[in-house]
Amino acid sequence: MAALQNVSLHIKPGEFVSIVGQSGTGKTTLAKLLFAEEHPSRGEVIIGGWDISKIKHSEVPLLRRQIGVVFQDFKLLPKKTVSENVAFALEVAGASAKRIREVVPQVLKIVNLHDRGDRYPRQLSGGEQQRVAIARALAHKPKIIVADEPTGNLDTINAHEIVNLLKKINEFGTTVVLVTHNREVVNHLRRRVITLQDGNIISDEEEGRYRL
């Protein structure tokens, strides 16, 4: 059985889109299709004019340098400091030391962690750890941020902070795709909402609400 079927949608540059639905409805699969972690068995996935449905293995890193990804479990390296975690994304992509020295403080400032650069993830709260993950996602100055349940492990206050941060990033012009099943977050955003059920889009509203 396919995780997604008959799904057709277009996300415009600079949009903030929430993809909602209950567990197992295909939200994460849809997110994974966007950064080529999954490949469609049929159909096309086009990012900025680039059909990535049959993307070559060697081209995946290039795609991922253009898409920032944020996960529920943060995926930070515990033995690296906040700055090192952000720098890591640039290091593995071959950025120069000069560029790393410039970009890391910039993105930490955006997420309001410029004074926590020397801390280790275990010394931070859940919300702060997620902000580090967002800073790392921003390091490549991506055109798209895909956030898969970024508030799943956070309390209400921290969840709102993260959503506000994503809104701020979106205001700078970055497209944000937020995968969530957090009703409050979706209703607070008042942006486009795509609702999935059993692998199908059941609604797509410009200024939607959580309707399940």
Partner: protein, 302 residues
């Protein structure tokens, strides 16, 4: 260049973050290197021993009493014409008698027996030395030449043949044992490297998944493991060198005294250190890298 430096940095991080695993891997490789060095030393010792025995080996040909000197000289010239022959010593009956008397000067009974025989009981003698011991059977055969076959009283060689045969037998067995040990150590080292890489991949699975997510190229993720294999070989080489070189300097005088050589061990290992250690390193690094590549193919899913 920048990426290469980062790959090396990550490889060193793998190496010291899994210190105990790295230690076991390096120890096994060090043992393999030491086995190779011991085998080389053994080879050198047996060559020196064989040379030593061969130097002492010669064939003594005694001519019948009454054989003319010119016939013996002809035989000597004939033998000297063989490239296998290193030297032919010519001993006159008088010289043979004098040598006998000197040898048995302290034994009056033997000397008295000379008087009983009356006159000089020795004929001409040729002492033939070949370049190597395996040429003697051919030389002995050559002495059956019809021109002087009938003048020859005796050919003395057999006792040396036994010594050489047993030495050669022991040497061959020791070499086989050494090669078997080397093969076992190399196989263990290969398996340990494989396991180390497997565990390192497991330990770094989180880091690897993050590297993939943030856009690291596949080769960039794999390369540090190959460089780590290189580091294992290099560290093991340094440790084995630190053991082997002082050992050579300590044992060289004993070796020289026993085998009557002149700095043979030292000249071989230290004089040719570049080749010996260089080839050991290249061999080990290739084996480790092949093992790493196999482990990555199996366990590193990018």
């Amino acid at each position: 260049m920048r990426l290469l430096l980062r790959i090396i940095k990550f490889a060193f991080q793998h190496f010291y973050r899994n210190f105990w695993l790295s230690l076991v891997t390096v120890s096994m490789l060090t043992l393999t290197f030491l086995t190779v060095d011991v085998l080389l030393g053994l080879n050198l010792s047996t060559d020196a021993a064989i040379n030593n025995v061969e130097k002492r080996v010669d064939v003594s040909v005694t001519f019948k009493i009454g054989t003319k000197e010119s016939d013996v000289q002809n035989a000597a010239s004939y033998l000297r014409s063989f490239p296998e022959v290193e030297d032919v010593g010519f001993v006159t009956p008088d010289e043979a008698l004098a040598a006998f008397k000197t040898k048995h000067a302290s034994n009056p009974t033997v000397l008295a027996s000379l008087d009983e025989v009356g006159g000089n009981p020795f004929g001409y003698e040729l002492d033939i030395r070949a370049h190597s011991a395996d040429k003697y059977p051919m030389i002995l055969e050559a002495l059956d030449h019809p021109s002087f076959r009938d003048f020859i009283e005796a050919k003395d060689f057999t006792s040396h043949e036994t010594v050489l045969a047993s030495l050669s037998d022991v040497t061959t067995k020791a070499r086989w044992f050494g090669f078997a040990l080397l093969a076992i150590f190399l196989a263990i080292a290969t398996l340990i490297v494989f396991n180390t890489v497997r565990v390192t991949i497991f330990v770094h699975r989180e880091e690897i998944s993050i590297m993939r997510l943030v856009g690291a190229a596949g080769w960039f993720i794999r390369a540090p493991y190959l460089v780590e294999a290189f580091i294992f070989s290099f560290v093991a080489l340094i440790i084995s060198g630190l053991v082997v070189i002082p050992a050579i300097l300590i044992f060289n005088p004993l070796f020289d005294a026993y085998f009557e050589t002149n700095l043979l061990l030292q000249n071989f290992f230290i004089g040719q250190a570049f080749w010996i250690f260089g080839l050991e390193f290249i061999g080990a690094a290739l084996v480790c890298m092949a093992s790493t590549a196999f482990a990555m193919r199996r366990y590193l899913k990018i």
